[in-house]
Symmetry: C2
Subunit: 156 residues, 2 copies
Amino acid sequence: MASPRWLDDDEQATWRALIATIGLVEESLDKQLQRDSEMPHAYYMILAMLSEADGRALRMSELASINNYSQSRLSHAVARLEERGWVRRDPCPTDKRGNIAVLTDAGLAALVESAPGHVEEVRRRIFDPLTSAEAHQLGVLCRKILAGEAGARPTV
Amino acid sequence: MASPRWLDDDEQATWRALIATIGLVEESLDKQLQRDSEMPHAYYMILAMLSEADGRALRMSELASINNYSQSRLSHAVARLEERGWVRRDPCPTDKRGNIAVLTDAGLAALVESAPGHVEEVRRRIFDPLTSAEAHQLGVLCRKILAGEAGARPTV
């Protein structure tokens, strides 16, 4: 391997701030959702994604890629959601090895009930401290990072 | 509760991009560190924080607050690091109920060995897709979110 491309001081500060922001998002949203709706944030995101999809259904692989979840993390979460009766898994009509996750009526009801408290927490933690222009800019930067990922050379 | 302050389309897009970026950071850094150094990213961060502290030691509460980890998440990780001989816990001299986490020589060696591969992954995923000005701006926005958190009204 070539000499490491160490981060300079400004990059290091950015990186630390990003890591702390990630910690803030995960801990605070999880805490609010667990407290008020008895679900972790990952479950909420899965329900929300399904609710917006055609027929309230998505292939497991699509569901994983939207949030950059690993397959194992997603499978574990969906299994828990099935136990609650909020999601069911159907065989994929076009791919015999694949599965489709489908949001049930009970799952939609759970999502609708938890949404107001969740959005308030998101606003308070992320959007209230930023101006509209800053929030927009944050989205632009995240999308650039995500696009870089899509075009990144493979690790192998 | 007052009527929910729903996100508008632009905010929704920003929020989704941030969530996906968080997923990218967590999955990709964890994957690289697990593969090359057999540790999750949370362990790396704890070792790195300790390595930069005076006497390579920090109170457990300081260590939790730096990354916005919950106490339970941090305690679990530090217990695993103790098992590997990378961290030890000493009683806090100024607070009988508190503990100090101390980086051992073996822990420092593990950090030094894993650092080049980790920093390359951070560069590739986060900094390579951004210009220097954009990376700086990302840090500014994250620090604003974190400062908002510090001044936020308590959830109770």
